[in-house]
Symmetry: C2
Subunit: 159 residues, 2 copies
DNA sequence: CTTGAGATTGCAAACCAATTGTAGTAACCG
DNA sequence: CGGTTACTACAATTGGTTTGCAATCTCAAG
């Protein structure tokens, strides 16, 4: 995200992303419903991986059921609107990926803060996998570690 | 795994790995119990990621409870005897990593077959993450795709 | 070898994220 | 506008994982 953008420009950008996602919904034969719009907005404004439960909390004032969030995210994943990420403990997060560049994350195992890594050296390897006969190749890469803040507060703990 | 090794040599190698894992157990202050030995043997003979339930199935004749498998694997993970891998659907597998080189996998999203990739281009990036102030840095990388067999049988399906 | 402290296990119950069934609602096509 | 039917809310259910606890096993000290 460009740090030079004003808030209006950011919101305009968010609107564009929403429109793009809505277009993908329609194109894949899905209906554009109020819960789906609300969930998409939550995903877009988060600008990073987010838990299903947190999505639900954000849209709950509009009374969108948790089961609906699960079903929508499932649909979004199939369509390619969101992508699944993992915590080292195995729990899943979902990230809005429409109109964004391929990237990966550093997740602090202590405070769960998420940082972005814009480099991806894995694309070359995907070709290698393709050459082994695999089709529909994708990959997932996450880095884990203890961030500077947490390392300081933890002092001499090995953890 | 060296394909030139005889079965006896492979078994000897498995025994060596078991001893090494047992040593790690002792060193970390854990007791060497019969269920733990059985689970370690199952992990070693599998030579790849395996589901908790499958581990339990393999050792069930010795009457090791499923809860015990969960607890042991949890301990093994902390000690560094096993490492967690992921299926694209979010389910977890565990792999014996003692005495083995760092590597990654290609998982067929159709038949769930697991292949090994011995190359890891990510090690360099870990240093980069470390330079960002992170400590205790690790990473996880998985490739997903449809293997040659499955692609053939699926014919023209887009999946 | 024997013994005791306490780590570990088996078993059953609890837990909780995720899924499912269904009747009602809302999207959207003509 | 209606009519079709995809979608949603709600509640019940599932299935993988965790937990509490009494019985058991490990292992080090004697
Ligand atoms: Mn991201
Ligand atoms: Mn492996
Ligand atoms: Zn942190
Ligand atoms: Zn396959």
């Amino acid at each position: 995200m460009n740090p030079l953008m004003s808030k209006e420009e950011i919101n305009r950008d968010d609107d564009r992303l929403l429109e793009e996602a809505v277009a993908m919904l329609k194109k894949s034969g899905h209906r554009v419903t109020q819960p789906r719009i609300a969930i998409l907005k939550a995903l877009i404004s988060e600008k990073g991986p987010i838990k299903i439960e947190d999505i639900h909390r954000r849209v709950s004032d509009r009374n969108c059921d948790l089961a609906t969030v699960y079903r929508c995210i499932g649909a979004f994943e199939k369509i390619g609107i969101v992508r699944r990420c993992f915590f080292p403990d195995g729990s899943s997060l979902f990230e809005f990926i429409v109109g964004g560049d391929h990237h990966h994350h550093i997740i602090c195992t202590s405070c769960r803060k998420v940082e972005t890594i814009d480099v991806c050296v894995v694309d070359g390897l995907e070709r290698l996998v393709h050459n082994r006969g695999y089709r529909n190749v994708s990959h997932m890469l996450e880095f884990f570690g203890v961030c500077e803040n947490c390392a300081q507060s933890e002092d001499g703990k090995t953890d």
